[in-house]
């Protein structure tokens, strides 16, 4: 069930633990119908061509990431160029807290999509998530496009979650509480241990 405007606003008034938080809302019109418009934030992680080697998701560390990424700040009112086939990690201007009984989908605005801009691939926001949302921005067209922090880039559509569940924060979610874009933390997945052991077994 999609949560409508009135219910969204009512949930924003609740006690802190159960509250739906989307802040800062620069204008009240960001909540309309059954969705909340989110804006492009000011922090970016630019992906570069590595000079030293490929990304190994099993062994990613902060020391190696300097080789293929660069953090950039772009003020509202300023702009950043996104080249064809370039991937940039952006972030929503808004910080979000999703109540434990809701989840949200991130839907890119079609107006940007028609320019070739893909906004997000990880489109589900889990119940209990807290933090700004990292956006995977990619230019799929053949022409460079400017990104302007502060523009509305996506919508959040909230849905009711039925049954019992453990919230994202209490479930050891890897991305709890960020206010800027975060690079992949795939190396923290527990599955790697099993994959390594299977690899050793097969070799012996």
């Amino acid at each position: 069930m999609v949560i409508g405007e009135q219910s969204l606003r009512e949930r924003m008034q609740r006690a802190l633990e159960q509250r739906l938080i989307v802040t800062p809302l620069l204008s009240p019109g960001q909540i309309t119908g059954g969705s909340v418009d989110v804006r492009l934030g000011t922090e970016f992680i630019l992906m570069k061509r590595s000079a030293k080697g490929p990304i190994d998701p099993m062994h990613m560390g902060s020391e190696s990431s300097q080789d293929y990424q660069e953090r950039v700040h772009v003020d509202v009112g300023d702009k950043m160029i996104l080249h064809p086939n370039q991937l940039v990690l952006g972030v929503t201007l808004e910080f979000i807290q999703v109540p434990a009984d809701l989840m949200a989908y991130v839907i890119g605005r079609s107006s940007w999509g028609r320019l070739g801009l893909m906004v997000a691939t990880a489109v589900m926001v889990s119940p209990g998530y807290r933090g700004s949302l990292t956006l995977e921005l990619a230019n799929l067209a053949d022409t460079p496009v400017y990104l302007y922090p502060g523009t509305r880039v996506a919508q959040l559509v909230f849905h009711q979650v039925e049954g019992t569940h453990v919230s994202y924060a209490n479930n050891g979610g890897k991305y709890t509480g960020p206010v800027g874009p975060e690079f992949s933390k795939l190396s923290l997945d527990q599955d790697w241990q099993a994959i390594k052991l299977i690899g050793q077994d097969l070799k012996s």
């Binding site: 938080i21 802040t23 809302l25 000011t42 910080f95 509480g177």
Partner: protein
Amino acid sequence: MDSWHEIAWQTWKDELSRRLSGNLIKAVGGLDSAQQALWLERFSRPVSSCAKVIGQYLKPLQGTWYVAAGLEWDRVETPEGTLIAYPVPWGDDPLAMAAMGLVWAGNSPKRVEAIVQKLGTAALFACYDGQLPYSFDIPYSSLWQSYIHKFGLEGIDSAVQQFFTNAPQSYGEDNWSIDWGPLPSYQVYLEELNHGVVPHETSGESPESIPLVLQALHYVQAPLRQGAALLAFKAIEGRILTDLWRKAALITRRNEVDSW
């Protein structure tokens, strides 16, 4: 200029100067050679977003200051403006960065008054959270005495108390009076920071008062303090943006840009 050493220094200085604005080049150019090198190196480092935004928020209506990332607090007055360096490791903490206002103010009553008007009681706590050195001619004693005279010691950490009671009295501090305004009501924002979310109003707007967010941040205890600084900065940035947005919406005089 004969030796290759001197030529190398000059080349390095010219290279760093090229990245500075005209007024800043003038300000640095008036310093002696060693100070020039020190400040050029500081200005070559990126200034944190937090230091930049807090600097803009505090910036005086009269006078100019330039903020640089250094390894310690420092201040130099030049005819073109005040050069202020802040310690890089604290660059993401808005309350510590608010201390740059006190660094600028020094022992000028007019400047201190302007900063207290901007920061309220957070001006006092900025001195502590920014760990300002006693070598600055800041009226620590007057700030402290006037604060406890008005609000008492309730809620004041012993470390804060020690910081101010150990501070030497600066020159001409005897007859200072500081208007702190009313006791700040920051509990809501403190609760939000301790809960791990960006301080906000239930409408989704950023808090109206930046000083209250800064004051709340002072009371967040370790180990949450460093993370809370990022959340508090997000709220401050949000308030400044919202005000700019509102102004822009008014200027357009159309309904197309909606605002609070």
